[in-house]
Each structure stands twice: as structure tokens, then as C-alpha cells.
Amino acid sequence: MSPGTTAPPLDVASIRADFPVLAQQINGHPLAYLDNAASSQRPLQVLEAIQNYYTHDHANVHRGVHSLSHRATDRYEAARETVRAFINAASVREIIFTRGTTEAINLVAFSLGQRLQAGDEILITAMEHHSNIVPWQLLCERSGAILRVAPINDAGELVLPEFMALLGQRTKLVAITHVSNALGTVNPVKVIIAAARSRGVPVLLDGAQAIPHQAVDVRDLDCDFYAFSGHKMCGPTGIGVLYGREAVLRDLPPFQSGGDMILTVSFKGTTYNELPYRFEAGTPHIAGAIGLAAAMDYLTRLGLPAIAAWEAGLLSYATGLLLQLPGLSIVGTAGDKASLVSFNIAGIHPHDLGTILDQRGVAIRAGHHCAMPVMERFGLAGTARASFAFYNTRGEIDQLLDALRLAQRMFA
């Protein structure tokens, strides 16, 4: 990801003090947590926000006449405003709290999907996470729509001309990842969105891997939907967001149904609540939303340009170091890349690498990264993946390299 030009550098040593989880020994070695693309860690500020909420302010939201319920509602809605500002949405009516990226995508697949007819097309890419594939496959089964998949090249980049060729008369939705979790590729989403919108096709961006690492401005992107998870951006698990352009959301039928999403319920007929509540059935994850807002405040305070710059430094350092190892090949070499490295070492299965690294305190992910079509594209059973956050250091990457050398000696 391209670093900001004027970002002040991060004080990573003091940042790490906010993350007590990082200061531990794993198997007798200092933890080097390099599995941030799977889930990041949380700073004390987020933990305290959640603790404070449950300690002082909890009640159910949107329904109580009593003071505590008002307070909880205020805090929940303040969290929504924080999210709005964080992604620069036009209105809080466009911010729907979900369980995470997966549920956000399923919401769109269900609600927008009701309009689809046999022969309509949904366009995705060959680098999607399973959660941006399977909901569309199921929708296609239900509706008779057809899933089109734009190919990627050997560097793991979207083949743009092929994508454009697939964007046709029948395309009813483009659903594409902003940043690939398996390859690190940053997609040229603005070009894609401009092309789709000029044909009247709505675009959903899977922002799970983008939002922790770069400033996201949904109005600048001009996307119709943006889905992301709290737990990959230092927030709690079980909370995520679907941003939806108000003009698009207004016409969509509800997703899940029950309390909170209705205005009146009668056996003669039920009327639905206004945006965004129409899409938030049941008691929401109030503490999760508050924790997510605290995470966003934290990232904003550090500055996303500074985060991006630090991570870009880690990525180039790691790439240079890893390529020194004989037999190591990097999978995903896009020109514009997020701070993760997927790789294989000749003669050592990624799963064995994962175990050996863990014995040296280094946490990485090994396997298909919920992107089996990507592995198939490259003819691989899986890869090892080291993914970096702003609290990682070059020392941790050195530790990774030492552990990889050990693995190579063992398997020599």
C-alpha cells in the first residue's frame, strides 16, 4: 500500500505497551505475532471501553424508557457516528452493524439477491475469500443467476481487460475484494467502480483486509457497499459493518427479521423500521460496536497514513529478507500490495513451517487462507503467510527469518 507522504513516524515501542498480549513468551520465545490478516490484537483502550460500558452503561437499546437504556442507546449510536466518520459515509443511516464481513456480504446477497432473475450475472474475481464466493454461489442456486469470475495473473493481480470484458449487460452486481487476504494484492477499485457505475451496476467491496491498513473513504471510492470486520482492525470479534449507499439501501428488502427492525407488527401486516435499523434485527452487539468505535479512535489517533507507511517499510524489509532464503518463493507479487507475504519453501509443507515457527514463538498462518480458488490457480496446496500490523517490528521479522532457517536445517 502506498505510504502517505507526510506521515509522522510511529512510536512503535510505546504502541506495543498498549498491547499487553504481545509481551509474552510462546514456547520459550518472545511472541512474534505475524498473523494479523487472520485477526489482529486489541489495545487496552478497546478493552477498557468494553469494560466501562458493561461496568456502567449497559441496558438494552432503542426500547427502554429508563435512563440506563438511554445511555446505552446514546453510546451505541455514538459508535455508529464514529464508524460513519471513519469511512466518511454521508449519513449514519448508511452504517449497518453486522457480525462481521461475512454477515455483511450475506446481507447483500440475501436482500439485493431477491431482485435477481435467471440469467442475471454477478461478477467477482479469482482472488476472493470464501465469504465473497459462497454467498453468491448460493444466491445463484436460488435465483438462476450466473457467477462470473474475472481471472488473475501470475503476480496475483486482477486481469483488468478480462474483468472489463465480463462486465456486461447482464451484470447486476460486482463484488470484489479491496485487498486480497491470500496474496496481499490491492485491487484498482476506483477504476472498477467507475466502470461499473457508468453501466449502472452496483459494487460491493470486501474491505476486511483493507480497512486496518489504509484510510478508506467510501464517498471518494464511490462504492455502493463496503463490508468489514472489527476483529481485523483491533476491535472486538462478533462485530462488523456493512456500509450501504442510502439510495441503494432504501429499496432493499430486509435481511434477518424480528425485533428492532420493525415499526409495527400486526397479523394484518408488519411495517419496517427506517434505515439503518431495518437491517439490524434483534438486540445488537452493543459492546462490540462501542469497542469497534474505540479501535477506530485508536487507529485515527495513530494516523492511518503513518500506519500505512510503517507497514510498507515492514513489507519491503520482510520481502528483501525472505528472498535471501534459497528455495523460497513468494506467492503474490502485485505492484500494489498490502503488508503480508504469502510464501512457500521448497521441500517443506506450509503446515510443518507453521509448527516449527510456532516453536520459535512466531505466529503465522499456514494453509489455504479461506481462498481455495487462489491456491488452485497457483497449483498449490497452501502457503505460509506472515501478515504485519503497525505494532510489528523488524526484529520480529528477523525472528521469522531465523525460524525459517531452522526449518530449512531440519528438513535439509
Binding site: N27, H351, T355, A366, L406
Partner: protein, 156 residues
Amino acid sequence: MSEPVRELTDLYRQIVLDHSRHPRHQGRPEHFNREAEGHNPLCGDKVRIYLQLQGNLLQEVAFEASGCAICLASASLMTETVHRRPLLEARASVEQFDRALSTGAGATLTGDLAALGGVSQYPSRIRCATLPWKTLLAAMDASSATVTTEQESTQR
């Protein structure tokens, strides 16, 4: 939080590394009358077992696999263990192996299989070692089957 002290050399013993590099009985044999496939959806390991059953005897046992060193070594050591053995004995071996690993009692394994005993101290790797054995069981039970590590039942 203190964890048990584990040494990598307990997991990757020389015999294990040797079998993973040079697996025995690997490859689809010319003659077989039973086969089964197993996979571990968590890590993508795949195993295919071929048997030539003669009466009650496992006349031939062979495998194809794509997987980690533990999976390959386990498959290779397994074929050595059950090759030319009666069905009943092979079943007992499967059960014993599975129990030893899943109850943390890897140290009770004997012979060459003892080399896989360390796996029982690595919970995330137990499935890698048991996959070939579960697949062998499926092959002995039926003429064709698919097993996965995430589901005890066989799908036909």
C-alpha cells in the same frame, strides 16, 4: 501461562523425516480391490489408500498423499505396519494408534510407530497423523468411501 516443554525433535524425529522424504508403498499399485480417499479440510491434506485384500489378509497396502511431513510419514509408517497383516490386526492397529494420539499417550506407541508419539503433544497436528489411518479404516470397511478429519461419518 506455562505450557509443557516440547522439543521440535520430538515431533520431527529422524525416522519421521526419513519416511516423509522417502515414503514407502507410495503410488497407485497395479492391482487393488479397495480404495478410499481422506482429506483434512482445515489444511488441505489429501490421502488415498489402495488395498489388495485376499481373504482376510491385506496383501497390498499403498497410498498417494499430498500433505505435510507428519501426514506423509504417518501414511508410510502405517503401510509398513499393516502390510501383509490380517484385517483384524490392522483394525486393532488403527484403533491403538488413534487412541494413543488422541489421548496424549503417544509414548505408548511401540516399534517404528513410536517415532510418531511426539505428535500427541501437538494438538493441531494430530489430525495430520491420523488421517491416513482413518482412510485405511474406510478402505477396509467399504469398496469406496471418502472420509474427512472434520466428520466422523463416512460419505459415500
